[in-house]
């Protein structure tokens, strides 16, 4: 299980990445992230929405109300061009971090 601190840092990347696949609402996003990370990343309501609102304020995502097939109204989020632009450097930064950690752990095991 990944620690809380690292999870917080990866949260934005996780949200932007799942939204790259298409628009979705908060609950669906949380489920998708949990499934795709095999439970390593779990977003509770309290963690998810303040982050979504922050990302929306920054212009990375945009939310809009939509009515689903069962008639329930849901706020669906989409990646904006700014969010799409942000995703690439974020991915590089995290890839760099993981490579650095890999190198570090190899050294530690020697």
């Amino acid at each position: 299980m990944i620690g809380t601190g690292i999870k917080r840092g990866t949260a934005e990347l996780a949200v932007l990445s799942v939204l790259e696949g298409g628009a979705m609402h908060g609950y669906e996003m949380a489920r998708r992230i949990e499934q795709q990370t095999k439970g390593a990343l779990r977003f509770t309501l309290a963690a998810l929405y303040p982050m979504l609102y922050r990302m929306e304020q920054r212009g990375w995502i945009r939310g809009a109300w939509e009515t689903s097939s069962n008639g329930r109204r849901k706020r669906c989020y989409r990646l904006t061009p700014a969010g799409r632009k942000k995703l690439s450097p974020l991915r590089s930064e995290w890839a760099e971090l993981f490579r650095a950690l890999q190198r570090l752990t190899k050294v530690s095991h020697d």
């Binding site: 620690g3 809380t4 601190g5 690292i6 999870k7 917080r8 840092g9 990866t10 609402h25 908060g26 609950y27 489920r31 509770t44 309501l45 309290a46 998810l48 929405y49 303040p50 982050m51 609102y53 922050r54 304020q57 109300w65 329930r72 109204r73 849901k74 706020r75 930064e93 971090l97």
Partner: protein
């Protein structure tokens, strides 16, 4: 059956946002809780346990309320621009201008580079100070939350102001000469643009942006390290 809408409304009654915005948030969080609860019920959990598992998602509603308020707080775009560009920019302009005027008043002679028609004047101490001035502008812009483009603009603001003055000066001079009927030698104008462009815009711009770029680099690395540290 739990009335999730009423439940959320009660828990977030102190959410100090305008009515429409608050209703949207309440509706969104309610929908999330409802879906979560229904999913637990579908998994076969008894109603009571499904409610409990749903409620676990928010440990502290006061804390959530505070987090939402912080995340929805909007900064006025003008105020943001003021702190990220105009204040740092005008400060760099003032400092660089005052320092140059001080040097001239103290009798510092400029270095002359080139010969013939194209001679460029450089105030070496002034040029040497510009990376620090640019760095100060960039630092203030970073502190104001400026992104890379704004930070670099703030650092080179003095040369932007000079460029604007240049762009205005030549057409106005040209018009005046037309009005008073004296002929314009475009060769001289072109030489003046080249000379002053190099001496007052290009070289100072490079010096200012060097400082600004270094500060931007330093702070972007620091903020990245900080993000990694807090996760």
């Amino acid at each position: 059956m739990t009335d999730w809408q009423e439940f959320v409304r009660q828990r977030l009654s102190g959410l100090a946002l305008d009515a429409g915005e608050k209703e949207e948030i309440l509706a969104e969080l309610t929908a999330h809780l409802e879906e979560s609860y229904e999913a637990f019920c579908k998994e076969g959990l008894p109603q009571r346990e499904a409610v409990q598992r749903t409620l676990v998602q928010v440990a502290d509603w006061q804390d959530l309320q505070r987090e939402i308020l912080i995340s929805r707080r909007r900064e006025q775009p003008m105020k943001k621009r003021l702190h990220q560009l105009w204040i740092p920019g005008f400060l760099t302009l003032m400092i660089s201008t005052i320092f140059l005027m001080g040097l001239q008043m103290l009798g510092f002679q400029p270095s002359i580079v080139g010969n013939g028609q194209i001679t460029v004047l450089f105030y070496a101490p002034w040029l040497a100070s510009l990376p620090f001035v640019g760095a100060l502008g960039a630092y203030l812009s970073v502190r104001g939350g400026g992104l890379r483009g704004t930070v670099l603009l703030a650092s080179v603001f003095p040369v932007l102001a000079l460029t604007a003055a240049f762009l205005l000066m030549f057409p106005i001079g040209f018009l005046i000469e037309r009005v008073i009927g004296s002929p314009v030698d475009f060769g001289i104008v072109a030489t003046a643009i080249l000379r002053d462009g190099i001496g007052w815009i290009l070289v100072p711009g490079v010096a200012l942006s060097a400082g600004g770029f270094l500060v931007h680099l330093l702070f972007s690395r620091r903020s990245w390290s900080k993000e990694l540290a807090i996760g």
